[in-house]
Amino acid sequence: MTTPSPEAPNNVWSRKGVAALLCCALFALVPAAAEAKIIHREKSLYSTILVDERGSLICLQFSVRRDQRNQSCLDRNDPKRMVFPYAHMMMLSLLFDPEPRHILVVGLGGGTLPTALHQLYPTASVDVVEIDPAVKTVAETYFGFTESERLQVILKDARVFTKRAVGAETRYDLIMLDAFNGDYIPEHLMTREYLEETRQLLTPGGVLAANTFAISRLYDHESTTYQAVFGSFYNIRSQVSANRIIIAVNGELPDVATRAGAASMLAGRLTPYGVRISDYLPAFTTKPDWDTTARVLTDQYAPANLLGSQ
């Protein structure tokens, strides 16, 4: 596993942004050093679910490997704070639609993103698709996740849900893809056809945010696949974790510079979550830093796991 080169030409980070991320990284590291105690371990149908406690942090992992990149943490002293930069970066998608009415989140995890969206937009509907019933139980038991009339979890394979929703002409203003949490990548959720179906679920101008990989050959293939479906998109890479966030729009991609109004409107509302939009704005780029000749992933050609290990 390699982390992206810090010299990558388009990773334009303000000094402030780097400082902020380093601070987050330290924040995440310090409690980790302070004795993590496993409070729940479960082999579910789909993964190994691990919940541990590090000081005030309760964290969810989908792997027994301790170097897992994607996880979800709850700070009991500050339950709203989003502990990981990737969650902050996902919230940046709100810049392109600051008032979504219908929201879809694929992948529940600890419920961080759907809960925050539900709190921010109490009158909007938030649908969450999660394949693993055990994850829902863990989110409810350890992470304070609760469903409500406008925040509901649908226990289904996301591909099946998406196909049915396209048929039923369901539409969302904002879709967040956060389904890649464990060692195993659901390959049928990383193909051109799946993204085309997801795009069909978006209203005109609707926004897609995807938490994906910044490591291995998969980075190139995934990038060309998103490009094939959405054309130009914003690519935001994290310097402290192996994540990158893709933000794409169903329609013309607006220049992030024109979103100053939305940014100032959101800034205050996102502060309780620890999201500082201005820190991330310099990282928005549409310039490809991947091999643009990499083969597009399709239902016919979907070796995401093999590419992810190379």
Partner: protein
């Protein structure tokens, strides 16, 4: 001559498991990759093979020959190849009619894989019939044959999951599998003809 039969049995084992692995990929876009999708596929393959064993044994009672053995491969190839064109429309059809992905995937796996797999299931018992010359050695021959065809299955599983899916599109692999079956049919026909020449 026995060597040819072992080669054919090996290839049969290879194709069966390669196809079973691809089955998961074929169904995933419509029915997901949940455990019950694999359950459907494995159920269908086991049932089909079970029937194939029965029919293959039955067929071996009447004038067993390499030519007829080759015919099994040819028919399997002809039934396997249409998956390239039929899988998509068939799954759309089932998806629109069956809401529950458990039964949807079971039905789809059934329609797509029963026919070629039943035919491929006939290979093993038919091979035993062609190889066994005396009851005394029949156990040893059957053991050796299962060894060879199961090694084929192991290699088919490995090659498909480690390499083929990385190199080729799924339809290309299906075409190659059908091609391999046809090639085996050709070899059996040729060997059968040679055998007939005194």
């Amino acid at each position: 001559m026995p060597a040819i039969i072992y080669v054919l049995a090996f290839t049969g084992g290879f194709v069966i498991m390669s196809l079973e692995l691809l089955g998961g990929r074929v169904l995933a876009p419509y029915f997901g990759s949940s455990i019950y999708v694999w359950g459907s596929i494995i159920t269908v393959f086991m049932l089909s093979l079970a029937l194939g064993y029965l029919f293959g044994g039955r067929l071996s009672l009447h004038r067993p020959s390499l030519t007829r053995f080759g015919l099994i491969f040819a028919v399997a190839a002809v039934l396997l190849y249409p998956l390239v064109y039929m899988a998509e429309p068939l799954m759309v059809w089932i998806f629109e009619r069956v809401e529950d992905p458990r039964y949807g995937s079971l039905l789809a796996a059934g329609f797509l894989f029963i026919l070629p797999t039943v035919i491929m299931g006939m290979i093993s018992p038919y091979s035993v019939r062609l190889l066994v010359a005396s009851t005394h050695e029949s156990g040893q021959v059957a053991g050796r044959l299962y060894f060879v065809s199961t090694m084929g299955s192991a290699l088919g599983t490995l090659a498909t999951s480690f390499y083929f899916v990385l190199w080729f599109e799924m339809n290309t692999i299906l075409t190659l599998l059908a091609g391999a079956l046809l090639l085996m049919a050709g070899i059996a026909f040729a060997a059968g003809r040679l055998q007939d020449v005194p």
